[in-house]
Symmetry: C2
Subunit: 209 residues, 2 copies
Amino acid sequence: MTGDQETAARMDWRDFDEDPLPPLLRTAVQTFVTHGYHGTSTRTLASAANMSVPGLYHHFPSKQAIIVAIMDHAMADLWRRSEAALAEAGADLEQQLQLHIECLVLFHAHRKELAFLAATELRSLEPVARARHIAARDRQERMLVEILRAGASHGVFVAPDPRQSARAMITMCTGVSQWFDAAGPLSAVEIAADYAGYAERIVGREHRP
Amino acid sequence: MTGDQETAARMDWRDFDEDPLPPLLRTAVQTFVTHGYHGTSTRTLASAANMSVPGLYHHFPSKQAIIVAIMDHAMADLWRRSEAALAEAGADLEQQLQLHIECLVLFHAHRKELAFLAATELRSLEPVARARHIAARDRQERMLVEILRAGASHGVFVAPDPRQSARAMITMCTGVSQWFDAAGPLSAVEIAADYAGYAERIVGREHRP
């Protein structure tokens, strides 16, 4: 194990109690979700955070810097959790798939607003940040593709097109952010378990009713 | 067959060659996708359609009326196609599932921009239109839930929670709008066939590698 992997294994990727975002970014997430990036002024962001506009500029040079910080945080947090889930699964490929799907569902249930911004405001990122976001999204997708590819080559999964089935699974999981209701009948943990079952059915060799 | 069902059966739900939107709404879709509803002015919409602002107001009383017309069109079009697919499938529940999924995938591949607006600008609809949109979305979801429920009660499908598995399938299919590339390696028809296979695996009694 490398040092990074040890850190990943120690991280509790199922824990969403604490939101590591600083208050200014947390209120900015709400404001962007409500009005959209283009419909939000720096003044609105400052006022939502109970700050003056110069006070806000003291922390972030622009509205763009704020959305970039939010998007970078979202992708980095999901990646760290996915790495920790992979480390927990060890070498068992079915377990890797189960925990990866569980991780995606929990993140998108607990971080609905971040998921909404990542899906809707990619268009608002300037070229460098946009390219970085797409690279992070591709890296995230590749982790699942590799699990499916390894599973297919070891005869554990039936995945003739791992990239295609990975995308189907990923959008199914990210879609949880569109409808999850913390007050609803199913908890995030229950949904995650059901979805891990769906993923297993999509590529599993055996049928498990 | 009722008159409505006959009309549905006659509609070619796989044909996306013609875009029935009037030019003003078609350019408005592009503008809203690029800048967001809140970031778009009536002046921008008029200019994108090569019209004057009074000319635009001659057709639509407000920016809100334009987004509402777009959203209503999207939901009505998807619904008509889904009804036609259901009529084509007849009484065979597996066939109903296959064609329903095929219909969802084709729509979301060929109508990416409409799907993006439906997912992102629900927040921008005023209360009456918003309630109507949600009702249309619920009716659309219910069609698949009913197929799965009927399949489960006839022993064709394994769907202990039809609403939950319907949602997983729907978001998987709507997700196609996020990444489909008409110039990509897979056509919409091929993706639709793969996705129908995934759906069948999620609820199918038999495993079909």
